[in-house]
C-alpha cells in the first residue's frame, strides 16, 4: 500500500525559529512517498492549502525519487497529494484525485468548548 511522510522543520533563520513579519511560523516541508506505481504520463503533485480550502498553493511535482520540498507560513495547513498529468501547468487547484493528505498539528486545534469538563462526546469520533 502506498504511503507518505511529511517532515516539517523551521525554515532557515538566523534567529533559530523562523517567523514572518506577521508573526506566523515559516516552515519547510519535505514530502516523500513510497510503494507508488504511476502510469506513464502521470505524476504526483503536492499542494498546501488552508483547512477551509480557501487558499491553495502548489508545492510542485514529486521527483523520480518521489520527493518534493516546499515552504509555507500559514498558521494551519493541510498538505494534499494528487494524481496529475506529468507535464503542463499545474494551475491554481488540483484536477486529479487526492491520493494522500495530512493536517498540521496546529490545524487540529479547535474549540475547547465540548472538551474536558464540557465534553459531550470525544473528538476522536470525528477523526481528531
Amino acid at each position: 500500500m502506498a504511503k507518505g511522510i511529511g517532515e516539517v522543520t523551521y525554515a532557515s533563520s538566523p534567529f533559530g525559529v523562523a517567523i514572518s513579519a506577521t508573526g506566523t511560523y515559516v516552515v519547510s516541508l519535505n514530502l516523500s512517498m513510497e510503494n507508488v506505481t504511476l502510469d506513464d504520463g502521470s505524476s504526483l503533485v503536492a499542494w498546501v492549502t488552508t483547512p477551509q480550502l480557501d487558499q491553495i498553493k502548489p508545492l510542485g511535482r514529486f521527483s523520480e525519487e518521489l520527493r518534493v520540498d516546499g515552504q509555507t507560513d500559514w498558521n494551519k495547513f493541510l498538505l494534499v497529494v494528487t494524481l496529475e498529468p506529468a507535464s503542463g501547468d499545474l494551475g491554481d487547484i488540483w484536477s486529479g484525485p487526492i491520493v494522500a493528505r495530512g493536517m498540521s498539528r496546529s490545524g487540529l486545534m479547535h474549540t475547547m468548548a465540548g472538551h474536558g469538563p464540557f465534553e459531550t462526546e470525544p473528538c476522536a469520533v470525528y477523526g481528531y
Binding site: Y10, F15, Y25, N75, L79, R101, M109
Partner: protein, 561 residues
Amino acid sequence: MLARLLLLVFLAVPALAQDHDMMDHSGHNMNMNMGDSLVWRMPPMKMTMPMIAGTMDDVPIVGPMLPGYGMDLSMFAEAKPSEIFDLADGDTLHMDASLVRRTIDGQEYIMMAYGGMYPGPLIRADRGSKVIVEFTNNIEMPTTVHWHGLRLDNEFDGVPGVTQDPVLTGESFTYELKFPDTGMYWYHPHMREDVQQDLGLYGNMLVDPTEENYYGPSNREVPLVFDDILIDSSGLIPFGDSAPTHALMGRFGNVLMVNGITDYHLDVDKGEVVRFYLTNVANTRTFNLVFGGAKMKVVAGDVSKYEREQFVESVVIAPAERYIVDVYFDEEQEYAITNSIQSIDHFRGVFAPETHHLGTIMVGSEKAEPDFGSQFVKALEFEDVQSDIADFRQYFDKQPDHNLRLTVEVNDLPRWIVMMMEVDTLFVPPMEWNDAMPMMNWLSSGEQVDWVLLDEDTGRKSMDINWSWKVGDVVKIRIFNDPKSFHPMNHPFHIHGQRFLVTEMDGQANPNMAWKDTQIIPVGSTVELLVDVTNPGKWMAHCHIAEHLHAGMMLSFTVDE
C-alpha cells in the same frame, strides 16, 4: 525536527498570546482587605476563556511585595534617560542601584535604576580594554550585578553563592570588566531578577571593534532596549515575596517599552542606514520586531558577527539576546516599530494576529550624507568570522557530550489549573508570544513549580548538575525541549562566561552562524550547541526567563585550567 508523521495522518507544526489591551481587574477580589496593607489584586487580563466557578477569588500562595510600597514618591529622585559613558582602558565607573521615581504613560511609579537612569548607563569601551565598576547597593534587597555575555574573570561574574556573596543594602563590590569580544552586551542583577530586573535594573555595554571597517557602513548607531511591565490603574502589580509568581510562563507585562518609554521616536534623514543594537531585557516576552517594512539585514548576534549578513523581514529576539541590525530608510515616510505576533485563543482554537506599536521612526526629506544605499543592498561576507568558525567545524559531527532535557514538575497547584492543563494538549505552540493563561500563570508560584534541566545521561537535575570541563575543550550540548511535559514552553538558554555556536536545530545544519551566549529552544525542538571553553572557574547555565530561573531552571559547570 518538528514532526515526522505519516502523510495520511497528521503533520505537526508550531504556535499563544494575550490581547495587549487587557481589562482592568484591580480591586476585583471584594473579600480582600483594602486598607494600608499590600494585598493581592488580580492583574489585568482578557478573559477569553470561561472561568471555572469559585476560582476568581484565588490568589497566589506567596505573599505580595512591592519595593518602596507605602513610601512617599516625592522622596525619590526622578530617573533620567540613559547616558553613554565612554571608558578608556583602566577607567573606573562608580554606579549604584537605587529606588527612583519613574513616569510611564503619565503615571509615576517607584522603580529601580542603575545610576539613576533608565536604562542604566551605557558603558562603551574598546575590545581588549579593561574597566572597573565600583558598585554600591542602595536598594532594600540584596543584589549582585551580572555582566551578561562578557567572557570576564570568573570572580566578577556576579552570581551569588557561586562567585561572590550578595551585596547587601549599603554595601559595595568592585567588578573588573574585560571585553574580549566586540558587540553589544548587557548587565543586570542575578538575585530576584523577576523583581529587580523587571523594575528597571538593566543597562548595556557596547564594545567597539579595534579593526577598521569591522562592520559595513552606517550613518548612525542607535541602541534599543525592549522591555515590558505589568501595571494597572492602581500601579505596579505586586511580586511574590518568598518566591516569584507567574512561575509557569513568566511575568508578561501589559505595557511594552523601548528604552524605558512607551512613545519612542527617532528622526532620520532619507536614505540613512541606521545600525540598531537590539537588546531584550523582558522577564519572559520574546519579541518579533518589524521596522515598518524597511529593508533590514542582521549583522551580528550576541557575541559576534554572523558569517554573512542576512536580509530579514523581522527580528525574533528572546529575553537576554542581542542582535545588531542595519536598517535602510529609503522612503520619506513614517515607519512604525512593532511587535508582530500571532496570539492563540486556546478556548476557541484560533490564531489571531496582534500588532503592538513600540515606536516611530520619522524619515524626513533631507537626504542622508554620505549615501550608503548602494552598499547596503549587498550582504557582506565576514571572512574573519568564517575563519574563526572553520577551526571548530571538525567538532560539528561529534556526539554530544551532554544531553539535556527541558521539562517541569509541579506540586500543590490548584486542582482546577491541573485539569485545565490536561485538557489543552492538542496543539502545543513552540513559542509563547504572550500570556495565554493569565489567571493560571499568576497563581503559579516558584514554590509550586520546579522548572527542570534534566541531564539524560546521569539523571541529575538542575543544580545537582555540575559538569566538569577544561580550558581548551570544545563541548557539544544537545538540548531537547520536551513537548510532553506538564507545561511546555520555549526557553532562552544562557551559558555564562563562554561562547557557543548553534550548529544544528531539529537535524538541520545552521547555514549562517554567529557566536552566541543565549539561544531560544522552542518547544519540541532539539538544538545542538558547541561550546568553546576558554574561561576557567565555576559558572552557571540557565533559562533566562526570570521566573523560570528562580523556579530552579539552572545548572553549574566548572572549567579547570
